[in-house]
């Protein structure tokens, strides 16, 4: 390996493309056009080519691969949701994650840490019991534990949270994990590229050509492409694309912020979430503390970050871990979260024939990257929703049949 590296360094031409092929031109037509080269769009492309033999596919990205929420999230992976639809779906995703590094031959730094959702009130303990029972029913490893189990897993914690929010117990989910977010996009991108999919960065979709209720093509910043099938996987930009096809949905955008501290020695193995204090924390492989909170309070289509956020988050974090008062904040950032009223995604077919949605991923869609790719590829090929996503269809709202996931998704992304 070092030899190859040395040879590569001394070679003036650097002939190997690091991850993907660069294509100078767009073709005039594709079987499937995917908008958005985040993890979701690239995973769908990968499974279309790998599992369904559909290779005449392009993925269009206005910026660069993984530059959206895929590269901005705090990488928590878990399946201890509240609804049967959610639990089955995310459990399938966790199963896929476990083999992904091997499938890609790329180290995703998938680290199984265990995940605690802390309960500071009786009402929270009740929700934890409810979640644990639903989880166990579907074979997901999940249990309610007492404060002593939290203390054992994170000895530095102040169980009284500075006296104002004593921890009464927690929902413990042993499979809870973190992974390296960029690598996921690269792994799916490289896999799709090797199977013939074209990835076009710096290519923005500006309009969608719909005639007689059917998709006919896509207008891009680099010209027109004809196609009968478009998959929209653009997270925080979903409402802008929906406007192009005139489809109404409940999706609205709020920023979600996160931050990391300077790197410190490893002291925190599990992932900890507190719904009442609106904060969560894990320690990355590099030693940084990765921290986040709940959504910004009002609609905004921008990724600016604020001092309010850092102040609010750090004050609650110090309630849990007072010894962090000397640790410095290193970076903060924001992503645009595509929120839904029931905290479940919107996936599948739409009133426009040939226009498919993978959206409403809000603050919780990183963990779903593999299963979204797989189920959306199936849905596009068969023109019927994959059985795992029928609970997430857009028309659930017109039937008042929501998939209420808020109790498991509002702070613990």
């Amino acid at each position: 390996m070092p030899w190859r590296l040395l040879r590569f360094a001394l070679n003036r031409k650097h002939p190997e493309p690091r991850m993907f092929t660069h294509h100078d031109k767009l073709k005039s037509s594709y079987d499937v056009v995917i908008i958005g080269a985040g993890g979701h769009g690239l995973a769908a492309a990968y499974y279309l080519a790998a599992e369904h033999g559909v290779k005449n596919v392009c993925v269009l990205e206005k910026g660069y691969i993984g530059g959206g929420n895929t590269g901005r999230n705090t990488t928590i992976i878990r399946s201890n949701y509240l609804t049967p639809e959610g639990v089955k779906f995310y459990d399938e995703s966790v199963n896929l994650w476990q083999d992904l590094s091997r499938d890609f031959d790329l180290n995703l730094f998938y680290a199984n840490r265990g995940h605690f959702t802390l309960a500071h009130t009786d009402a929270a303990v009740r929700t934890m019991r409810w979640r644990a029972e639903v989880n166990k029913h579907y074979g997901v490893d999940s249990e309610v534990v007492g404060p002593e189990a939290v203390k054992e897993a994170a000895p530095m914690i102040d169980l009284s949270c500075a006296g104002h929010a004593p921890i009464l117990g927690a929902l413990y989910h042993a499979p809870g994990s973190v992974a390296r977010h960029d690598a996921v996009a690269w792994g799916y991108g490289r896999g799709a590229d090797q199977r013939g999919v074209e990835i076009h960065q710096q290519t923005e979709v500006l309009g969608i050509d719909v005639q007689g209720g059917k998709v006919k093509g896509v207008n891009t910043s680099r010209g027109y492409i004809s196609t009968n099938k478009v998959l929209c996987a653009v997270a925080g930009s979903t409402p802008r694309i929906l406007k192009m096809v005139d489809v109404r949905t409940p999706i609205y955008i709020h920023p979600l912020q996160a931050m990391v501290s300077e790197p410190v020695k490893p002291w925190l193995d599990p992932i900890l979430v507190s719904g009442s204090l609106h904060v969560y924390i894990s320690q990355s492989a590099r030693g940084e503390l990765v921290m986040g909170a709940s959504l910004d309070p009002y609609e905004l289509h921008a990724t600016r970050s604020t001092l309010d956020f850092v102040e609010g988050l750090t004050s609650h974090m110090l309630d849990m871990f007072p010894f962090l008062s000397n640790v410095k904040v290193m970076r903060q950032w924001a992503g645009m979260a595509d929120m839904t009223p029931d905290f479940a995604p919107i996936m599948g077919k739409t009133p426009v024939e040939g226009f498919y949605l993978d959206s409403g991923w809000g603050t919780w869609g990183f963990k779903a990257t593999p299963v979204c790719g797989k189920t959306m590829a199936h849905t596009l090929v068969n023109d019927t929703p994959h059985p795992l996503i029928t609970g997430f269809s857009l028309d659930r709202f017109s039937h008042y049949a929501l998939t209420g996931e808020k109790g498991a998704a509002s702070v613990g992304h």
Partner: protein, 85 residues
């Protein structure tokens, strides 16, 4: 910190305000169809633009309308509700 102008209390830090979404006309529940009502309850105009929104200055419980560019995060105007919707 961002400042917002309350029509009653003048410029105040935005953290004193509460956001309650776009101003939307409500269909008459007695005459509209189920589909129209579901559209009103759930669907939103999620695309960016200049929107008229409900805001409240929480310390004084003052409700008012703000016209805001939701892409640039600039408040263009704030005023009391005039009854039109």
């Amino acid at each position: 910190m961002k400042i917002m102008t309350c029509p009653l209390n003048g410029p105040r830090p935005v953290s004193e305000f509460f956001y309650w979404g776009e101003v939307r006309p409500m269909p008459d529940p007695d005459t509209c169809t189920d589909a129209e009502w579901a559209d009103y309850v759930f669907n939103r105009n999620g695309a960016p633009g200049v929107k008229r929104e409900w805001w409240c200055h929480t310390p004084s419980n003052t409700w008012f309308i703000a016209e805001r560019d939701t892409e640039k995060d600039v408040v263009l105007k704030t005023y009391f509700y005039q009854g039109d919707a």
